[in-house]
Amino acid sequence: MKTSAFARIGQAGIASLLVLTAFAGCKREQRRFRETAPSGIPVDAVVMSPLQPGPSVIDVRISNPYDDNAYAVSEGKQLFDQMNCSGCHSHGGGGIGPPLTDDEWIYGSEPQNIFATIVEGRPNGMPAFKGRIPPYQVWKLVAYVRALGGLQGKAIRTTRDDHMMYKESEQARDKGHPSPTFTPPASVKQ
């Protein structure tokens, strides 16, 4: 079959591009089913206060291993229903508990703040889920709660559910701007 030299170059170029991109991953699409290394599930370093005795070495700001992961946000959404968060937070709209879709974050909007809120419980009705939900599932919930607040990328957030539509989907809402009053204080030197 007669292929011009340029056609062959073109196809070789595409092939090499594909090979190169094979080494890239896409964090959004990873499906991580289990976390093997303990460092994969940041837990112990989550603290309530930025103050530390002695030298300040603990990194106060902890990133969620599941930030930017669409699968985790979707799993978090399923967990949100299964663990009955909607019982008080009503699919993010609030009711007995405060709404999660607005910009007011009473205890902070950073991942470690939300993690602590879920695990430790809070006054006036937030149960403590410590020991009840494994840490890596809590981090998935954290990812979803941040998506509810518009704090994840648009492509990461979930879209419509296969249920009745209670509200616009997480992907449809605008980006969230957590109220500056509640930003945790600037982290101390790591």
């Binding site: 079959m1 056609a7 094979a22 890239a24 991953g25 959004r28 699409e29 699968y71 419509r160 296969d162």
Partner: protein, 650 residues
């Protein structure tokens, strides 16, 4: 080749009847070569609107996708060769079988059939290019970009993983997070546009550009097959246009087409998809039937038996093919009575196919077969496709299908009909038409190795799957337990897959070596009867020196004793062709084909870019519409009518 009794294009007293001198022929050849020359280099390659150049690209790209799909199949077979194998995990396996199905169906089977059609139909009907040359180029670029989109996303771990059929709700927003299925839906957009473009080209070209005298009852059966298949594309593709758009909308902008809680239905997807999906396999199969007819005619050296019956079978297969789709949904809770209708239709379609097979056997019976590699592949088609067709009639029965559906029995059936019914004819066509495409013969010895390895490999791989399915092995499973008892048959299947890979390697080696050192082929090495063999191998850019005139179905055999009549009087300094009437191919108008232009590539790049943007935001659609509007305005910008008396300088 001498040309006798040149028939003037119009009643022009300046034209002289009689023989054309050799001098005239050479002059015409030189002028046409100059007029139709597209230049060389990368820029010329990107701007090409010559149907043969574009078809060659289609075929090469489709073969690359065929190999990629084959690698995916090989990986699946390795994973399934043993129970509880840990070669590939579930997530990657799901992506791989989705990619295998999508590649083979959307990126290989339909494009390669269309490409062979786009190459040979203009040659067979005696015209110089397809009806809309720029649109043809656009079709290729859209196809290429769609395939690249799919594979780049696969390498980025964003390959679709819900099956090539993407059933909702699994493929919907709740159960397939991320952008994997959005990319799949937009890949469909690219490939559906390419397929529709090819179909429109073929229909228009066949209806309006046939050589004078080639009335509809004289066109080759391959042209009939491409025409029928193209009509099927035009009617079937809109269903998947609609359903993939609905899926994209559900996933991107919160529509509820497939959400039962808000008035949608998961079954809606299945109906729409299979309304496309069943005709799709006939879209792939019918061109293969046309190829078989051409090849049998040539290698038995007799005209095909029962031409009218063959044409009517093609047409009725196409019609019936639209009435079968629910046989993919027999396990769903649709009413029994309605489902039975589709059993009857699925059985009925065996009749036109049977007519074709019996007519071919009658042709062979009364002909004089020559056992070239091409003909061997045709025999392989008979032996393998019949198995697939009969297992298909078995699963047309609802009770039996309820056991066999979604098991490896169906995998066996579909591979027998697709490999046996489409790939074997395709290989036969490659061996048949390679000399015409390249000017060289493929090695017959390597061809025999190719054939036997493929035939044996195919049976070893897929025949055990009939039994595996009835022994309870479902489809789309990444592994199975040791106590299931499926290990031995799976291992046999995997060995067969290795044999198939060997066969494809032999084929590629054959092509590679023959391109460089193959025996040079003349115009008509097989002594065939249709018009593509009336010109040089490979054909010049203008196809035929003069537009031929035909008086029967097998022009070159009819012209054996005399010479082929031709049309003179068309301009050779412009890209001019002849338009004829639909039924009887009486000359009607002159027509100027558009020359090379970069616009199709530009439209594909910008339009395609906006389609990719639409994966992430609905603004992609808006931007795409604006971009397409601007580019199409340039495309359709009226050119000043050429002054017929002034020769063009270029």
């Amino acid at each position: 080749m001498a040309h006798a009794n040149a028939i003037p294009a119009f009643d022009d007293p300046d034209d002289r009847p009689g023989m054309l001198t050799a001098n005239e022929e050479d002059e015409t050849w030189a002028t046409l070569t100059r007029t139709w020359d597209e230049g060389s280099g990368l820029w010329a390659w990107l701007r090409s609107t010559n149907h043969k150049s574009i078809s060659r690209r289609y075929i090469v790209t489709a073969i690359v996708f065929f190999m990629l799909g084959g690698i995916e199949a090989g990986m699946m077979r390795v994973q399934l060769s043993r129970p509880e194998n840990s070669y590939i995990g579930p997530d990657l396996y799901n992506q791989i079988f989705t990619m295998h199905g999508s590649t083979m169906m959307f990126l290989f089977a339909v494009p390669v059939m269309e490409a062979v059609g786009l190459y040979f139909v203009p040659l067979m009907i005696g015209t110089r290019n397809v009806a809309f040359p720029r649109l043809n180029a656009l079709g290729y670029w859209m196809y290429l970009f769609g395939g690249v989109l799919l594979y780049v996303s696969f390498f980025y771990n964003t390959g679709p993983d819900a099956g090539w059929f993407a059933y909702v709700p699994l493929a919907g927003p709740a159960y397939s997070p991320g952008k994997r299925l959005d990319i799949w839906a937009q890949m469909i957009t690219f490939t559906e546009i390419a397929a529709l473009i090819g179909a429109v080209e073929i229909v228009t070209t066949v209806f309006k550009q046939r050589a004078p005298g080639m009335s509809l009852n004289r066109i080759p059966l391959f042209v009939w097959a491409m025409l029928v298949s193209s009509f099927m594309i035009i009617f079937a593709l809109p269903a998947i246009v609609v359903s993939s758009s609905m899926l994209a909308m559900d996933r991107l902008i919160d529509t509820h087409f497939f959400n039962p809680a808000e008035g949608g239905d998961a079954l809606l997807w299945q109906h729409l998809f299979w309304f496309f999906g069943h005709p799709e396999v006939y879209i792939i199969f019918i061109p293969a039937l046309g190829m078989i007819s051409s090849i049998i005619e040539t290698f038995t050296r007799r005209r095909i038996f029962g031409y009218p019956a063959m044409v009517l079978s093609l047409i009725s297969t196409a019609f019936l093919g639209f009435g079968l789709w629910v046989h993919h949904m027999f396990a769903t809770p649709l009413p029994q009575l309605g489902q039975s209708f589709f059993t009857a239709a699925s059985a009925a379609i065996a009749i036109p196919t049977g007519v074709q097979i019996f007519c071919w056997i009658a042709t062979i019976w009364s002909g004089r077969p020559r056992f070239t590699t091409s003909f061997l592949f045709v025999i392989g088609f008979f032996l393998l496709f019949t198995i697939g067709g009969l297992s298909g009639v078995m699963i047309a029965s609802i009770p039996f299908d309820l056991q066999a559906h979604d098991t490896f029995f169906v995998v066996a059936h579909l591979h027998y009909v697709l490999l046996g019914g489409a790939v074997f004819p395709l290989f036969a066509a490659f061996y048949y038409w390679f000399p015409k495409l390249t000017g060289r013969m493929l090695s017959e010895r390597a061809g025999r190795w190719n054939f036997w390895l493929f035939f044996i490999g195919m049976n070893v791989t897929f025949f055990p799957m009939h039994l595996l399915g009835l022994h309870g092995m479902p489809r789309r499973i990444y592994t199975y337990l040791p106590e299931m008892g499926w290990g031995n048959l799976n291992m046999i299947s995997t060995i067969g897959a290795v044999i198939i890979i060997a066969s494809v390697c032999v084929f590629l080696g054959n092509v590679w070596i023959s391109l460089r050192r193959g025996v040079p082929a003349g115009d008509n090495p097989w002594d065939a009867s249709t018009l593509e063999w009336a010109t040089s191998s490979p054909p010049p850019s203008f196809n035929h020196l003069f537009i031929p005139v035909v008086e029967g179905r097998d022009p070159l055999w009819d012209a054996r004793d005399g010479e082929l009549a031709v049309v003179t009087g068309l301009r050779t300094d412009r890209h001019e062709g002849l338009l004829t009437s639909v039924m009887d191919a009486e000359p009607e108008h002159r027509y100027e084909f558009k020359g090379p232009t970069i616009l199709p590539l530009i439209l594909a790049v910008f339009g395609g870019g906006c389609i990719v943007l639409a994966i992430f935001t609905p603004w992609g659609v808006t931007l795409g519409a604006i971009a397409a509007f601007i580019i199409l305005t340039c495309w359709f910008w009226p050119t000043i009518s050429p002054d017929y008396d002034t020769p063009r300088t270029r």
